[in-house]
């Protein structure tokens, strides 16, 4: 029996979480549909003035993405916690951060990536221009992983607490607001023809992504150790 390298372990964890998500085929599908539905609900509540809608579009899409990722964050660690798998993970001879990173990646692939892929279709509903669409999708591509990763910290901190879902949102939403601001900011900038502002917003998102990639797995791992005591 061979031993696993760090990289193989990462792949193993990602594959495991994807497998679990696929086992309930509905899983991926439903995050998506939730997203579509929230986005479609808004015009319903607001009325159908095209001008108004176009203005709202980036905000609504981003907020919906934030909520969709929030909604699925609850299960990031809790299932593993309840059935004792998390204990086993903490006893893994490799660093816990790697495992956590793997879980975050899987979470993004299940709950973030589908949104990025469907966003252009929804953008059409709101009558967004082609460049605005492009920027929106690029922004989501950079931003949704950050949401999953920051969310991971919150999920780890609220592990095993009752009412965790809501407490989680309370902790995570404030931290996610900058992502939201840069993401929508980029779209507004391109709509207003300010290419410089657009690029700087996207660059900030990219910086946040790098930053989270390095820091959040470690912070979440610490949070998990605290929560397990």
């Amino acid at each position: 029996m061979n031993t696993l390298s760090v990289w193989q372990l990462l792949v193993l964890v990602v594959r495991r979480d994807l497998l679990l998500a696929m086992r309930r085929r509905a899983d991926v599908f439903t995050t998506l549909i939730f997203f579509v539905m929230v986005v479609s609900l808004f015009p319903l509540g607001v009325g159908s003035e095209m001008e108004l809608l176009r203005k709202m579009a980036p905000g609504v899409l981003w907020v919906a993405a934030l909520l969709a990722s929030m909604l699925s964050l609850g299960r990031l660690f809790s299932a593993d916690y309840v059935d004792g798998t998390l204990e086993q993970m903490m006893l893994a001879p490799q660093s816990l951060s790697i495992l956590v990173l793997g879980k975050m990646i899987a979470h993004w692939m299940v709950s973030g990536l589908p949104l990025v892929l469907i966003a252009p279709v929804l953008g059409i509903q709101f009558d967004l221009s082609a460049p605005a669409q492009g920027v929106l999708v690029l922004g989501l591509l950079l931003g949704t992983p950050v949401l999953s990763m920051i969310g991971g910290i919150g999920a780890a901190l609220t592990l095993g607490l009752r009412g965790g879902g809501v407490l989680l949102s309370l902790l995570v939403l404030p931290l996610c607001i900058p992502v939201l601001i840069f993401g929508t900011g980029a779209v507004y900038a391109i709509s207003a023809g300010l290419n410089g502002a657009m690029v700087s917003n996207l660059a900030l998102l990219a910086a946040m992504l790098m930053f989270s990639l390095v820091l959040t797995p470690w912070v979440s791992a610490q949070a998990l150790r605290i929560s397990m005591e």
Partner: protein
């Protein structure tokens, strides 16, 4: 060699044990005894680092376990009250993943062989949620067949098992001891390993 010295542990207002010291050498087995709530699980979890002891030290081959961290975990196999298996995954998938977490690459054939040895023939590919309580415990116990971990920490390994399975676990433990492993465990059921001196630690 596991060396525990002057360990103390409190939960809430209750002092569970204090000034607990023992040494466990290769090839030795020790049963932690005590009534419900006497602190057996707490002791085992402390040995795994899930709980921080109030005072005292846990040394592995002479080094503090907190310092060793992952190097210590590589020598450890812990089986808790919970089975640590996923309801939605089959026995084979579960076993491959838990092996992976312990750093061991396992293919389907090996996993199936291990599950068969645990008496799960014909159930290897079923999602574990449809299995019976005892069968699920057997899936969890299949991990004992793979590891090269030296120290087994088993919290009520016999829970939910029928007579045949209990015997199987006894055999596995005997084999592990024969290859110079160490075992520390709790149980409320009688468990004897033929030809082995069973050390007992009583908490009260």
């Amino acid at each position: 060699m596991l060396e525990v010295s002057h360990l103390a542990c409190s939960r809430g207002d209750h002092r569970l044990f204090s000034d607990l010291s023992f040494v466990l050498e290769s090839g030795q087995i020790m049963q932690v005894q005590g009534e419900n709530g006497s602190g057996k699980t707490s002791l085992l979890r402390t040995l795994c680092g899930f709980l921080s002891p109030e005072s005292g030290k846990i040394l592995w081959d002479g080094t503090d376990m907190r310092e060793l961290a992952e190097d210590y975990f590589a020598n450890l196999l812990y089986l808790g009250h919970h089975n640590a298996i996923k309801d939605e995954l089959s026995g084979v998938e579960n076993l491959r993943i838990s092996a992976g977490l312990a750093g061991i690459a396992l293919d389907d054939k090996q996993a199936i062989a291990a599950l068969r040895r645990m008496g799960l023939k014909g159930r290897e590919r079923l999602p574990t949620k449809v299995l019976s309580q005892g069968q699920r415990r057997r899936v969890a116990l299949a991990r004992l067949l793979l590891g090269e971990a030296k120290l087994w920490v088993l919290d009520e390994p016999l829970a939910a098992l029928d007579v045949g399975a209990v015997e199987l676990v006894q055999t596995l433990i005997a084999e592990h001891l024969a290859r110079q492993g160490m075992v520390i465990f709790t149980t409320h059921q009688p468990l004897e390993i033929a030809g082995m001196e069973m050390r007992r630690l009583s908490l009260s």
